[in-house]
Amino acid sequence: MNLTPNTQASLAADAAHPTVVECREFSVYYGDKQAVRSVNLGFPEKQVTAVIGPSGCGKSTLLRSVNRMNDFVPGLRTDGRILFRGENLYRDRVDVVEVRKRIGMVFQKPNPFPKSIAENILWGPRINAMVARGREASEELVESSLRKAALWDEVKDRLDDSAFGLSGGQQQRLCIARTIAMRPEVILMDEPCSALDPRSTAKVEELIAELRQEYTIAIVTHNMQQAARVSDKTAFFFEGKLIETGPTKKLFTAPEQKQTEDYITGRFG
């Protein structure tokens, strides 16, 4: 083969981080309104992909389409495909429960279950028969999940207390731990820090950097600094369209599109 050094480099990168989730000409309609317009975007394995753009640009809608959370929105219609390891998530007979087991999600506002901290971790694995019966297996799963979410030391003495007694930042890390406990392949994060104070935000960002070793992460954020800090790849959306995507460093330092540049320099949005 006769490849230029540049292409070789990008191919090598692709081999280390193959695309796990890939949108192909994917569109979402709310009634007559088109919220996502024929998007082509890949999420590479064990990388953090940030999706940025002004409010209402369709970035959350796209993210929620990946684990089929949009199925609950009445009047919503999709077009095109989202491939998960090559399989179209929107073909017939795909079981959404199976999809959500493998593609976890962390929401904008911390939403722990109104149960104890331990129960929050265990509920998902239990209903999916993913944890062996008995105390030992349960305790182990609780501890390992909380450790991975950097929450263990703060809560190990009150695992049976209500999750509502935790601070907002701790609750959000609990939600991340709950997602991890399902051993998903992909974690979707829908503005996970928008309800948190700066210190909690910093902790969650550290955590994302940590989780990147094991999981493929897609994060929607309003905060451009956050995207620059945590992500490997960034996609900029505007009015439902994917304007530009590329390695985060490149997109923030040398954007190709005028709109991208205007947005990241704060000229609009």
Binding site: N67, M69, F72, V97, E98, R100, K101, G104, M105, F107, K109, N111, P112, F113, P114, K115, W123, G124, I127, N128, S162, F164, G165, C175, R178, T179, M182
Partner: protein, 309 residues
């Protein structure tokens, strides 16, 4: 002028802040007066209600307490007031409430879950909702007539506890359904999303997260509904509950009487003694209701402790 705006006003214009008096002046005088007036009005209303209730309770207790005894609780009705007891009525009420709870709670909660979590909004649900609201407003005596036609005659249940419990179930179902729906609706949407996001099916979400979180509200509806049912008389008389039963019921197909019916019967007699034992029976009925509500409240609080802070 206002305490709370003072902090904001100072940096903007210090001289003005100095000029503004910190005491109560101007229209704040009227606002404070109005506040006080309303507070006193609210307190007066509350206390007058408590006073009326207290007087009522005192009168009943004064009449009835001397008659309360073990013989009164375990005896059967008689032509003579001093030989009369309420055992059949007490057991009748217990049986009736047990059966009514058995029918109405699962039916009501299940209907609420279906309407709130499963049914799609449309003409059908609107019609069902309208009917439930209408049923809630139907006079109980009309439901008694319905019970007489359907349960007593058509289904051939006779004048049994079963027919009575089913009639009362009809009467309190709307209350349970409406209260349970409110409680389910109050469960934040984010909890449902969280459940779906960890791979829960709809039923697992409802069963494992939504219903447990709604239990306090559902229990409140059940308390209200059963409290209404325990004191109900008219529909039971219509379906043929007897006022004189010498034997306690021993099964759901037995004939029965209940405390409210016995009270109604005794209270309408001219003899003072009967009015007094009616008061004694009222005390028993109130105690039974209190015990029932206490149980429900305990269940509610246990659920609240488990699911809230």
């Amino acid at each position: 002028m206002l305490e709370s705006t003072r902090a904001g006003a100072i940096p903007a214009n210090p001289t003005k802040a100095e000029a503004a008096p910190l005491e109560t002046t101007g229209n704040l005088v009227f606002r404070k007066r109005r506040e006080l007036l309303f507070r006193r009005l609210a307190a007066a209303v509350t206390w007058s209600v408590i006073l009326i209730l207290g007087t009522l309770l005192y009168r009943i207790a004064a009449d009835g307490l001397p008659w309360l005894s073990l013989e009164f609780l375990s005896g059967t009705p008689s032509r003579f007031a001093h030989k009369s007891g309420i055992y059949p009525a007490l057991l009748g009420t217990a049986w009736l409430m047990g059966l009514t709870a058995l029918f109405s709670i699962p039916l009501g909660v299940a209907a609420a879950i279906y309407l709130e979590e499963y049914a799609s909004r449309g003409r059908f649900t609107r019609i069902v909702e309208l009917n439930i609201a209408n049923l809630a407003g139907t006079p109980s005596i009309v439901l008694g007539l319905l019970g007489l036609t359907v349960f007593v005659r058509f289904f051939g249940l006779g004048r049994s506890l079963m027919a009575g419990a089913l009639t009362l179930t009809l009467m309190i179902l709307p209350t349970i359904i409406i209260a349970s729906r409110e409680a389910l609706r109050a469960v934040p949407h984010t909890i449902r999303q969280a459940a779906y996001a960890v791979g829960a099916t709809r039923w697992q979400t409802v069963r494992g997260q939504v219903v447990p979180a709604a239990i306090p509200g559902i229990m409140t509806g059940i308390i209200l509904a059963l409290s209404r049912a325990i004191g109900e008389t008219a529909p039971l008389i219509v379906i043929g509950a007897l006022s004189y039963v010498a034997f306690a019921p021993s099964g759901p197909m037995d004939q029965f009487t209940t405390l409210p019916i016995v009270i109604f019967n005794w209270a309408s007699r001219p003899k003072v003694e009967f009015q007094q034992i009616a008061a004694a029976a009222i005390l028993v009925l109130l105690t039974a209701m209190l015990l029932m509500n206490l149980t429900a409240i305990m269940i509610r609080q246990r659920a609240q402790r488990r699911h809230r802070q």
